[in-house]
């Protein structure tokens, strides 16, 4: 059966051998053919020599969650042949390097073996040993072009762009590509039943990873100070920020930098720098991952209590501890929501894709300054490091940052006396003053006990008064965080709540369940504290499934504690092995829960 624009590939490689470039070209070419596509990079925590996989899913319906069935596996890593052969769905195909004979034990009667002598082909063309290894990747790309019917003109165009200044390299690529292509055309029935055909579904779309989009958001939000410590998978946020700043933030007259990026000595210093810069009036942020969040705990509490804005991007990876640094998870929700000792509560934002990384990064700065408090942007490895097809980013030139209540020199001059923590506005926020502006605004910021005038205190009532306002302030932020995205159906039997990168899998699962007559409303929360819409959605459903990627049901915990919904109706669907969520996880989870419920009602006492 021919399946056009609806299949999944898995490319099994060894890391550090240059496959990323070939795999990226394939993904990009499909994107340029106008076909919805997604690519998931499953790489090891290592630099060279270990197994790495790249999964490409092509879906004319626009389903971009991770697929679990592979129609075609490209097995380039002899070490993982065994596993890789098993991953091909029955009736599918396996492409392998036939320079060496395949182990007879790996034979599977239900799949097609496509042998391409990649090493031999490349050894014939190239003499340099490095080139021979690198070009094998381009050679299998060539075969795939033939097998899947990739538009060769687009590939040419991509190579042209990529190697515009490196002719020799372009030629090598062309020769390898051609060799793989020719071999496939000659030896196989091309294209395969799974194949591509141009569409126009990606016209107003871009291919972007979440970390790049986050960095771009920080640039557009007007962040000028960034401090960080390298950690996978957040490092590329700062790499991108650096690049964008170099491009857009050089002073046109002096050539100097309208920004300052500090590679800190560790995460404690990174958050300290952000707090110092924010205290001093700059928009500042850091990006990190789980271990960094743990290390930042003490100073996050300081920023909370002293009411200093701070934007913290947490690109989550699989915890606890070092965990699996190159695997995704949504495991830092509670660690961020209640970060630090004592009574603390923070604002969290949950982008679901790179496009939202951009918009929510900007929202993060506005919220941090409006509420004078740390704000966490909770991305994850799947969103942050994989390329996603997203709607083109839009920018309203009328946007101006919400700097919150900051007093200028004139205002201070007119005041009888400035008090830092009163009077409060309807958000329960008081005005702050910045250093260097006016002596009347001089204020001694402290993480120790203080009263509403900003004075040091150890008196219970004075202390409590400020703490109570902070609690009210946090609740007030519920009105200000982005509203959840709710999809309501007629006759929905239950609700599904999810967040962040679960979105594509949930949407696909809901569609699939609907085909089986199982109708669900969905809500994707985008911010914490939860607002009225979240309350209303939970109230409107007797049964709610909470889909999230961690072991301990952290979103469910937050919903339980921070809404009025009875916890009994919130059931968890948890997937936390470290790979991006697939719709099957959700479908299986929902059906299992439903069966349990009906079994439960049958035996109800």
């Amino acid at each position: 059966m021919i399946r056009i624009n609806d299949f999944a590939l898995k490319l099994a490689n060894v890391n550090g051998t240059g496959s990323a470039s070939a795999n990226g070209l394939l993904m990009q070419a499909i994107f340029r053919m106008g076909i919805p596509v997604s690519g998931k990079n499953l790489f090891p925590s290592n630099i060279q020599g270990l197994p790495t996989w790249y999964e490409v899913r092509v879906s004319k319906h626009g389903h971009t969650a991770r697929a679990l069935d592979y129609d075609l596996v490209i097995a380039m890593n002899a070490e993982t042949y065994g596993r890789d052969v098993k991953e091909v769905r029955s009736g599918g195909a396996l492409l392998y390097d036939s320079s060496w004979p395949l182990d007879a034990e790996l034979a599977r009667p239900d799949i097609t073996f496509l042998g391409v002598p990649l090493a031999k082909l490349c050894n014939e063309i190239f003499t340099d040993s490095r080139e021979r290894i690198l070009m094998k990747n381009i050679a299998y790309l060539g075969s795939l072009v033939a097998l899947l019917d990739v538009d060769m003109a687009i590939i040419d165009e991509l190579l042209q762009e990529k190697f515009s200044k490196k002719k020799a390299l372009r030629d090598s690529n062309h020769r390898a590509l051609r060799a793989g292509y020719d071999f496939a055309i000659e030896h196989f029935d091309c294209p395969l039943p799974i194949r591509l055909e141009k569409m126009t579904a990606t016209d107003d779309r871009i291919l972007i990873d979440g970390n790049t989009a986050t960095a771009l958001g920080c640039v557009y939000a007007g962040a000028t100070v960034a401090a960080w410590y390298p950690i996978t998978p957040s490092t590329s946020v700062m790499d991108a920020f650096k690049e964008f700043c170099a491009a857009y933030r050089k002073d046109p007259e002096t050539g100097k930098n309208n920004y300052c990026i500090l590679q800190a000595e560790d995460e404690l210093a990174a958050i300290g720098m952000v707090i110092g810069a924010s205290w001093n009036g700059a928009r500042a942020f850091t990006s990190t991952s789980g271990p960094g969040i743990s290390l930042m705990g003490e100073l996050i509490g300081l920023a909370y209590y002293a009411e200093i804005p701070a934007v913290i991007v947490d690109v989550q990876r699989t915890g606890p501890s070092t965990g699996m640094p190159t695997r995704t998870q949504q495991g830092d929700i509670l660690a961020c929501a209640y970060a630090s000792h004592g009574d603390t509560k923070h604002i969290l934002l949950f982008p679901s894709d790179p496009a939202e990384c951009f918009t929510l990064a900007i929202a993060a700065f506005d919220l941090a300054e409006r509420f004078q408090t740390p704000v966490f942007l909770l991305s994850d490895l799947d969103i942050g490091m994989n390329d996603w097809v997203c709607p083109r980013l839009k920018w309203d030139d009328a946007y101006r940052p919400n700097r919150g209540r900051v007093l200028g020199a004139d205002e201070l001059e007119k005041m009888a006396k400035f008090y830092r923590y009163s009077p409060e506005n309807e958000d329960h926020v008081a005005a702050r003053s910045l250093p260097g502006v006016h002596s009347k605004g001089a204020f001694f910021t402290r993480g120790s006990g203080h009263n509403k005038l900003g004075g040091y205190t150890e008196i219970p009532d004075e202390y409590q008064e400020v703490m109570d306002r902070l609690a009210r302030k946090h609740r007030a932020a519920a009105r200000a965080v982005p509203a959840p995205i709710i999809h309501k159906q007629v006759d929905a039997a239950f609700g599904i709540v999810s967040l962040g990168g679960c979105n594509p899998a949930v949407r696909e699962a809901v569609a699939a369940l609907a085909e089986r007559g199982i109708i669900a409303d969905t809500m994707r929360v985008r911010g914490f504290p939860f607002g009225e819409e979240v309350e209303a959605f939970l109230a409107a459903h007797d049964q709610v499934f909470v889909v999230e990627q961690n072991r301990d049901a952290q979103l469910r915990t937050l919903l339980t504690m921070e809404t009025s919904a009875p916890k009994e109706k919130l059931k968890s669907i948890l997937v936390y092995g470290g790979f991006p969520l697939s719709s099957r996880h959700v479908i299986d989870g929902v059906t299992a829960q439903l069966e349990q419920r009906s079994a439960g009602s049958r035996v109800a006492r």
Binding site: K256, Y259, C260, L262, E265, G281, R446
Partner: protein
């Protein structure tokens, strides 16, 4: 040696260049123990800012946690202050400085705050040459937590409870020198005549100025057996170099005999004049400074004075090529690339 005091009763109640009296540089009442060395350092800071005529609102004062770290409340009430977290002042000051390079930064820390929990941040603030004055009010103990040894306590030093310290001390001065600090000095809280000029020079230095001030803790470390007591310090103090700082704006002739003084021109154009107490002392030769320190340490002497200064230092902003306008003050319009640029950029995301 300081310039001779004029013959008036309250010389410092006279307005300085910007019309402020010394009162304007004071802060709220100290809540430290009566006689605490830190209060003397506070007084020296007050006088230094007054004499430098720094506008209070252009000063940012930061600290960690400890008795020493409480002191920023006690000086320049008209300046913004930040009593942060234990050992984290260097990073917060670094970020603050990144955001607004136009202010004068003064960080106050203790030996516990700087040499134990905060040593990583201190080391890296030195390495970045953050433009600030960093004072360690060094008493060899954790004052606020009641007298445990700090990492600057000397071997054999006795605590009030009678314990004897057995771990070698970390000397912030030699550490800073080793790390390439661009301004390194040491003084004694009880010696305002030496301390004030050093502080003024440090405040005018462009880059990280470390000033280690021996500042006895009268409550927990001023007994016999302590090597950071008033008595011990007075006995073992060696004034290596005395610095008289003269701001460029009001340069005057001072009575230094030529040949016994060496001038260092600081980045803001001001000049520090150093008196060589020892003939072969040159505070710009890092290598020999270190040997000198070691020499005196071995003799049981505490070398004080402006010990090292690097005239060529480029600070964190130079290194980072930051623009001159404080980042916190650049209008948003200059920071946002706008929609056209975004559209253009997105062509590459296809």
């Amino acid at each position: 040696m300081p310039s001779p005091k004029p013959n008036v009763v309250h010389p410092h109640l006279r307005p300085n260049q910007i019309g402020l009296t010394i009162r304007d540089y004071e802060g709220s009442m100290s809540t430290l123990c009566a006689g605490c060395g830190h209060d003397s350092v506070t007084a020296a800071i007050v006088r230094s800012f007054y004499e430098l005529s720094t506008p209070p609102h252009l000063i940012a004062k930061l600290s960690g946690i400890g008795c020493s770290s409480k002191t920023p409340t006690y000086f320049v009430g008209g300046a913004h202050g930040f009593n942060s977290a234990h050992g984290r002042m260097p990073s917060i000051a670094t970020g603050a400085n990144a955001a607004n390079r136009a202010l004068t930064y003064i960080g106050i820390s203790g030996d516990g705050d700087s040499l134990s929990i905060g040593i990583g941040q201190l080391v890296h603030a030195i390495r970045r040459n953050v433009d600030m004055l960093y004072i360690i009010e060094n008493n060899g103990v954790y004052g606020l937590t009641k007298g445990q040894f700090s990492a600057s306590a000397d071997i054999g030093s006795k605590s009030k409870r009678g314990e004897v310290n057995r771990f070698g001390p970390i000397d912030p001065v030699s550490l800073a020198l080793d790390l390439g600090a661009t301004f390194v000095a040491r003084s004694f809280s009880g010696d305002k005549e030496q301390l004030v000029p050093i502080l003024k020079a440090a405040l005018s230095h462009k880059g990280f100025a470390l000033v280690d001030v021996i500042s006895p803790c009268v409550t927990f470390n001023d007994h016999e057996g302590s090597t950071k007591s008033y008595l011990y310090t007075r006995k073992h103090l060696l004034q290596l170099i005395s610095a008289d700082f003269v701001p460029f704006a009001r340069e005057i002739t001072v009575d230094y005999a030529p040949g016994t003084a060496t001038s260092v021109r600081l980045h803001d154009g001001s000049v520090v004049r150093l008196r060589k107490v020892e003939a072969d002392y040159d505070p710009t030769d890092r290598q020999r400074v270190a040997s000198h320190l070691e020499l005196h340490r071995n003799r049981g002497e505490i070398a004080t004075g402006l010990l090292f200064v690097d005239k060529q230092a480029s600070d964190m902003h130079d290194t980072s090529k930051t623009t001159e306008v404080p980042l916190a003050q650049i209008p948003y319009e200059k920071l946002c690339p706008g929609s056209a640029k975004l559209d253009e950029l997105q062509k590459t995301f296809r």
